[in-house]
Amino acid sequence: MGGRRVARFLSLPEAIAHYVHDGDTVAMEGFTHLIPFAAAHEVIRQGRRDLTLVRMTPDLIYDQLIGMGCARRLVFSWGGNPGVGSLHRFRDAVEHGWPRPLELEEHSHAGIAHAYAAGAAGLPCAIFRGYLGTDLAGANPRIRFLECPFTGERLAAIPAIRPDVSIVHAQRADRAGNVLIEGIIGVQKEAVLAAARAVVTVEETVDDLRLASPNAVVLPNWTVDAIVEAPGGARPSYAHGYYGRDNTFYTAWDAISRDRDTFLAWMRENVLAAGPASRAGGGA
């Protein structure tokens, strides 16, 4: 192992062009909070294909990527519009193969959370008390079981998740590229540490991270490849301390996404024709 990389400040198009490639396994995380929508829209604009998308809760962000044909495979644990209902583009891909078929690797939240943690921890697999009695184990060959060498208890085992690139959104970075994340922190730290490459979009770059506590959740600049200033980059999700969740847009997405043409028209207008500084949905 050599020394370390150090985060570079890049524009959003540069960061996506440099670190996200066709065929990559990409994790965009953020558990209802700090979802990296701006980065996902840039991935769509740059036309990435054949991605394996990993995310606990695919949410609107992956509904858009799937509907635009970027994904070949989805690793996930809950694919709905939170509090609203279905993800119509996800369902259309699974049920009708539109715009292309979508392979599924399906877990529970506990499974995927443990798999990210194992990835961050450099382990080949994680063990936990999970999947007992469910049909998920039958549907996903990457769920196996082993016996505790001390008690004989049957424990679930799953392989670590190690994305080629993880993308997260955070509140701020300092000028050295150290990143603060706070509030609902989800699996962002694990996703970044598990990945070969990491891109972080932030609300702002500051002289001082203003860490409120010695135990604040910080990603040191040598755990990240690129930092992108993208204020509002989590809209229509939210950034604790910066702006709220646009629940109205989440509700509106149900109608926008239900129909293929309406969806495509919306994406053309709000994402494809827009620049990297646009924020499609949220605050609108």
Binding site: S77, D135, I184, Y250
Partner: protein, 256 residues
């Protein structure tokens, strides 16, 4: 006061919670019931959402499992891996409160697919936290509107294990928690038979009938030897529920 069946369902669910419960809360109906309980007889109940918000006391109902309201009112917010490892799997939760798309006569829940897994008729959102909530909480309460489409003899896909094929099936799989000890619907309450673990109607809500429950259940549903009548929501309960729902609606209109 007049009330809807949906209000009856939420009130009946809230009543099942105790002040000293530590509750792992699903979004939607479970969250409404848990917060109603907190506003009524269980002011000290601990609510944990899978977004890692521990001890959340939302003033309005969250739309998502991780709304700002949850983090802002929580005692502390931990990572999602910690939530599932230390707090759920650690055995610290007395009640897991779940919604469901389908439930069968042995309390197994499906929220994955209608039809076959490979070529589903309807692709549902999937498991989320439910599989481990169903086996790791002290007991599980399920809240689900009572329709023939949702109350099926056998679920198409077991997302969350209830009593499997009944009897001691949980124990045979090494699961030592109680499982779905209560199912709350808009028509009544069901509990597992102590021996067979088949869900049995133990209470009928005021305004609902035996015949209606039979019609809306996809199997030949059994009734307990003594079926109770669920008391209707009283004025305090209704006022608290409507206040909560009203606040939440007004808040939703004014967001962002």
């Amino acid at each position: 006061m007049d009330y809807s069946r949906s209000e009856m369902m939420t009130v009946a669910a809230a009543r099942a919670l105790k002040n000293d419960d530590v509750c792992f809360v699903g979004i939607g109906l479970p969250s409404a019931a848990c917060n109603l309980a907190r506003l009524l007889h269980a002011p000290d109940i601990t609510l944990i959402y899978e977004s890692g918000t521990i001890g959340a006391k939302p003033h309005v109902l969250p739309l998502s499992i991780g709304d700002p309201e949850l983090c802002e009112t929580a005692l502390t917010t931990v990572s999602v891996p910690e939530t599932f490892a230390y707090w759920l799997q650690g055995g610290r939760i007395s009640v897991g409160f779940l919604g469901a798309a389908q439930i069968d006569r042995f309390g197994n829940i499906n929220s994955t697919v209608v039809g076959s897994y490979q070529t589903p008729t309807v692709r549902l959102p999937g498991a989320g936290g439910a599989p481990e909530i169903a086996t790791l909480c002290g007991e599980v309460f399920v809240i689900i509107p009572h329709t023939r489409r949702s109350f099926v003899p056998t679920v198409d896909f077991i997302t969350s294990f209830g009593y499997g094929t009944g009897g001691d099936h949980r124990k045979r799989l090494g699961i030592h928690t109680a499982g779905p000890s209560l199912v709350v619907t808009d028509l009544g309450l069901l509990r597992p038979d102590p021996e067979t673990k088949e869900l049995v109607v133990v209470s009928i809500h005021a305004g609902a009938t035996v015949e209606e429950i039979r019609q809306q259940t996809g199997w030949e549903v059994r009734f307990a030897s003594h079926v109770e009548q669920t008391p209707p929501p009283d004025d305090t309960e209704l006022a608290a529920l409507r206040g909560l729902v009203g606040r939440s609606a007004r808040s939703a209109e004014s967001t962002v």
